[in-house]
Each structure stands twice: as structure tokens, then as C-alpha cells.
């Protein structure tokens, strides 16, 4: 197992945002987390990526405990993420954004960086080439020199993917990658996600777009009010009556074919 989440809980005041959630993600799979708004999906991501500490429970990545560690340490171990509301560095170009993502993979320390040693220049060149390569692979190399704040929304999302990939993660956390995108762009994202998986990256994805989820994921976890209510293959989840009731609402449940 690449990622194991064991009995993780986190409360905000009286609200149990994530309540005793356990699941695991095998290597090279795509696992989806679904659930209605406020189910605790993003909180769960924050607990895994280190932005929040769990109140209790443990998170293992490659067999090592990572819960409560600072985000940059977890990132350096190989967990990378994108955000529901895109968080690119707007004061930098697209290429620079991706290059920042590779920061943890650079070897020379900051002293070398400050004094601009030749070794640092070579590495800098290599980082740039790799970053351009990633942009190229995702089909947005034409945007490299543009300011990240000025490009189209759909492209920003792809650039965020590129930045996350620059870290060479083993696990990629995608928080609603299709939010705000049209059908064409969503299809493009699905294509990119498949491509990323072929590179050997394991993916944990939060998404509301059911057709996208059913299409790409191997396994689905369903959260509701912080609790895990189901886990299984897409076809099983689609038939699970409780999931249909909680997630799709009572009316939809009646509309479902037997």
C-alpha cells in the first residue's frame, strides 16, 4: 500500500469534519473520494498533505508515518497536490511556477544558490529543461513565458497539474480538478489524468463530476458528514442504495433503475 489512512479524525470546534476515516490506496491506482458538500473531503486532503494535523489516527505513506509533519516534508517524501480553487503563484510566469515545483528535487543548497556557483547554473538549466518537458507533455508549452495570473482558467488548472508533477510525486492528490471546466476541458483533464497514471503516479482524486469519476477511478470512497459510508468499485458504488440516498438525494434514488 502506498498510502494508508487509519482511523483519522479531525474536529473544528463541535463539528467533526473528518470522523474515524480509514482506507488505503494501492500503488499505481486511481482512487476517488466523493461525497456531498461539507462531507470533509478537502479536510481529509489537508490532513494527508500536512496542512492540518489530525486530532487522532495515523497516516502512513510508503510505510512511514507522516501525520502531523510539516507540508514541505510530506511534499519532499513524494506527495503532491492541486487545489479546488487554483493556487498558482500569480506574480510568476508559468515556467517559473513549474520550476518552483521542482525545488525539492534540486540538490545544491541555498548557499550555492546565493553565490551562484557553476554547479548551481547547470542544475538550474536542468530544472528548466525538465519543467519545459512537463509543460510540453501536458500540451501547454506555448504558455511558458506568460504570467500565470493572465492565462485562461482551464489552462491554469493544467499548469497546476504541471507544477504538482514537477515534484515527481509518487502520490498526486487532485482536489476537484474538473470544477468550473466545460465538457471539452473535462475530457482533456481525464486524458491528462490517465497519462499521469501511465507515468506510474498513484492518484487520489476528489471530484463531483460523476461521469469523470466513474470513467477513471478504480476504487471509490464515499464520505458523508465526515464519516465513511461506503468503499468499493465504481459499479458497486453506483448500486449502493445508501450512497444513492445520501449522495444523490431521495428523488434520484427512486429514479435509479434496479
Amino acid at each position: 500500500m502506498l498510502l494508508e489512512v487509519k482511523n483519522v479524525s479531525r474536529a473544528f470546534g463541535g463539528l467533526r469534519a473528518v470522523d474515524d476515516v480509514s482506507f488505503s490506496v494501492p500503488k499505481n491506482s486511481i482512487k476517488a473520494i466523493i461525497g456531498p458538500n461539507g462531507a470533509g473531503k478537502t479536510t481529509l486532503f489537508n490532513l494527508i498533505s500536512g496542512s492540518l494535523r489530525p486530532d487522532s489516527g495515523r497516516v502512513f505513506f510508503n510505510g512511514r508515518q507522516i501525520q502531523g509533519r510539516p507540508p514541505h516534508t510530506i511534499a519532499a517524501r513524494g506527495v503532491s497536490r492541486t487545489f479546488q480553487n487554483i493556487k498558482l503563484f500569480h506574480n510568476m510566469t508559468v515556467l517559473e511556477n513549474v520550476m518552483v515545483g521542482r525545488h525539492t528535487r534540486s540538490r545544491s543548497g541555498f548557499m550555492a544558490g546565493i553565490f551562484n556557483l557553476p554547479s548551481c547554473w547547470r542544475e538550474e538549466r536542468e530544472i528548466e529543461n525538465r519543467s519545459r518537458g512537463i509543460l510540453d507533455m501536458l500540451g501547454v508549452s506555448g504558455l511558458a513565458g506568460m504570467n500565470a495570473g493572465n492565462i485562461a482558467f482551464g489552462s491554469q488548472r493544467i499548469v497546476e497539474f504541471a507544477r504538482a508533477l514537477a515534484l515527481e510525486p509518487e502520490l498526486l492528490l487532485l482536489d476537484e480538478p474538473a470544477a468550473g471546466l466545460n465538457m471539452h476541458e473535462t475530457a482533456e483533464i481525464a486524458e491528462i489524468i490517465r497519462k499521469i497514471r501511465e507515468m506510474g503516479v498513484t492518484i487520489l482524486i476528489i471530484e463531483h463530476d460523476m461521469s469523470l469519476i466513474m470513467d477513471i477511478s478504480d476504487d471509490i470512497v464515499v464520505l458523508s458528514s465526515g464519516k465513511m459510508i461506503a468503499e468499493g468499485r465504481p459499479s458497486d458504488i453506483q448500486k449502493n442504495p445508501e450512497v444513492i440516498r445520501i449522495y444523490l438525494g431521495e428523488e434520484d434514488a427512486q429514479d435509479q433503475e434496479p
Partner: protein
């Protein structure tokens, strides 16, 4: 006014202005990574100047300056390690008050170490009476040192932020700390580096102006006020703005001497500070929305 006289005013304005710009850039570096204004920034100039003066008794001038810069930047790192880092979830106001307190502590410490005597480094080239004539205006060669060193610092800093991984990481932190952390950047270290960098720049500036303006335990305070005015005028966090603002304030000050008594020189920049805060708090180059997003 005769042309030579105008030129003389301009040159003196540019000299002071470039120092103000360096102080303002020091404010900006820390502001960009932490969102706080480090009011101890002026003390870095004093500390750099004073340390270099003491060290120059035992070693050649360039070496004394080098060590003064290193020692001051370590002092900057210590401020972060001992105070800023220890505060868990501090409010911006709390951090600013901490830096004001620190500036007082550093000043008093300097008073105990060096007493209240006014000192200065020797002129880098020539002596206090050496002067160069440029188109009829007379300037000390030290003025050229100040302009050269300040210009070089601004240039190198620009290259550092643009072309090094550390520089980029610092910009990433200033844009979005959360995202930077999740990209694997140790944001705490970036704050330390920003304190070291602003301290080192301040120390070097403090050394080059020491022969002209002289250094005393409290000479950082007025520079900090000027630098702060310039940083606000240029738009907080904007280094181009700091350079333009610095030259503007320096020039205004030096020309004010021709119309107002010398004693009003400092009042000019304070009056400007109050005016900007009333009329355009985001500064000349800062965008309004952006400053609204910042924490104050």
C-alpha cells in the same frame, strides 16, 4: 538657480535617495515573505556601520566591511530564530510590535557597546576633502561608492529573485505561502533567508554611507523612517517602486533646502508619508486590490 547648483542638489538627492531605496527594499524583502514590516531594519544599517568601524581597527577596510555584513546578517537570522519563529500564529500587529521592541533593544545594546560617540568609517578612496568635478558640480568620491554599491545591490537582488531556485522559492512564498509549502518549500527557512538578506543589504548600505553621514547608536531610526516612507510611496513589496520612491524622496529633500530652512528636511518626508497614507495608501505602484488583500 544656476545649472551647477541644480546638479549639485540632484546628486545629493540621488545619493540619499539610493540609501533610502536600499532601506525600503530591506523592508520589502521581509514584508514579502512574512507580511510584516520589520521596524528594526534601520538598526541593521547602524549595526553594519558600527561593526565595520570597530573591526577596521584590526583589519583592512574591505575585510572589516565583509565581516560586518556577515555578522549583521547573522543577527538578522537570530531575530527570526529567537523571536519571529517562536510566535505561533501571531497576528501581524503582534509581530510589528515585536520588531519595534527589537529595534529599541538593539539601539540600547549599541549604546552600551559603543557609547554615544559619533564615529565613521574612513573614506573608501581619498579623504573628506577629495572631490571630483562633474559638469561643474563637486562631489566626494564616496558618493560614487554609494551609488555604485546601491545600484549593484538592486541589480544582483533582481537577478537573485529571477534566476535562482532560492529566489524563486521566496517569490512563491510571497505569492501563496500554503501552496509554496505544499510544493515542498520550507517556508520557515525562506523567512530566515529574507531576514538575513535584508540585514546584509542594510549592513552594506550602512558601511558605504558611514563616511558621509557618520554613524551613531541611534542613526538607524531616522533612516528607518525615511525607508518606510519610501516603501509606502513605492507600494509595499514593490522593489521598482522602492527605487523610484527613494530617488523621489531624496530629490525632494535636497531641493527643499533651497526653499525651506535645513531643519525642515526631515519634516518633508514625514509630511509626504502622511499624505500618501491619506491619498493613496497602496503607493504609487501598488495595485489597490492587492493591498486590500494583504493583511492590513
Amino acid at each position: 538657480m544656476a545649472f551647477e547648483q541644480v546638479l549639485q542638489y540632484i546628486l545629493s538627492g540621488v545619493t540619499n535617495g539610493s540609501i533610502y531605496a536600499i532601506v525600503a527594499i530591506g523592508f520589502n524583502i521581509v514584508y514579502n515573505t512574512t507580511g510584516i514590516i520589520n521596524f528594526a531594519q534601520g538598526e541593521f544599517l547602524m549595526l553594519g556601520g558600527m561593526t565595520a568601524i570597530s573591526l577596521s581597527q584590526f583589519m583592512p577596510l574591505p575585510l572589516a566591511i565583509l565581516f560586518a555584513v556577515i555578522i549583521t546578517s547573522l543577527a538578522g537570522a537570530m531575530i527570526d530564530f529567537v523571536f519571529i519563529r517562536r510566535l505561533r500564529n501571531p497576528s501581524v500587529l503582534m509581530m510589528i510590535i515585536v520588531t519595534i521592541g527589537l529595534s529599541i533593544v538593539i539601539r540600547e545594546m549599541a549604546l552600551h557597546i559603543w557609547d554615544e560617540k559619533v564615529r565613521s568609517l574612513p573614506y573608501f578612496t581619498g579623504s573628506e576633502v577629495t572631490s571630483i568635478s562633474i559638469l561643474g558640480a563637486y562631489i566626494s568620491p564616496q558618493v560614487l561608492w554609494v551609488l555604485g554599491v546601491c545600484g549593484l545591490m538592486v541589480l544582483l537582488l533582481g537577478l537573485f529573485f529571477r534566476y535562482t531556485a532560492t529566489g524563486r522559492s521566496m517569490r512563491a512564498c510571497s505569492s501563496n505561502k500554503t501552496a509554496a509549502g505544499l510544493c515542498g518549500i520550507n517556508t520557515g527557512n525562506m523567512v530566515t533567508i529574507s531576514f538575513m538578506l535584508s540585514a546584509a543589504m542594510g549592513a552594506l548600505a550602512g558601511c558605504v554611507i558611514s563616511p558621509i553621514t557618520q554613524t551613531q547608536y541611534d542613526s538607524g531610526t531616522s533612516l528607518a523612517i525615511k525607508g518606510f516612507t519610501v516603501a509606502i510611496l513605492g507600494g509595499m513589496g514593490n522593489s521598482t517602486g522602492a527605487v523610484v520612491g527613494g530617488l523621489l524622496i531624496g530629490m525632494l529633500e535636497s531641493f527643499s533646502i533651497s526653499v525651506l530652512p535645513m531643519a525642515y528636511k526631515d519634516a518633508i518626508s514625514l509630511a509626504i508619508l502622511i499624505l500618501i497614507l491619506f491619498i493613496r495608501p497602496s503607493g504609487l505602484f501598488g495595485s489597490r486590490e492587492e493591498s486590500a488583500l494583504k493583511e492590513f
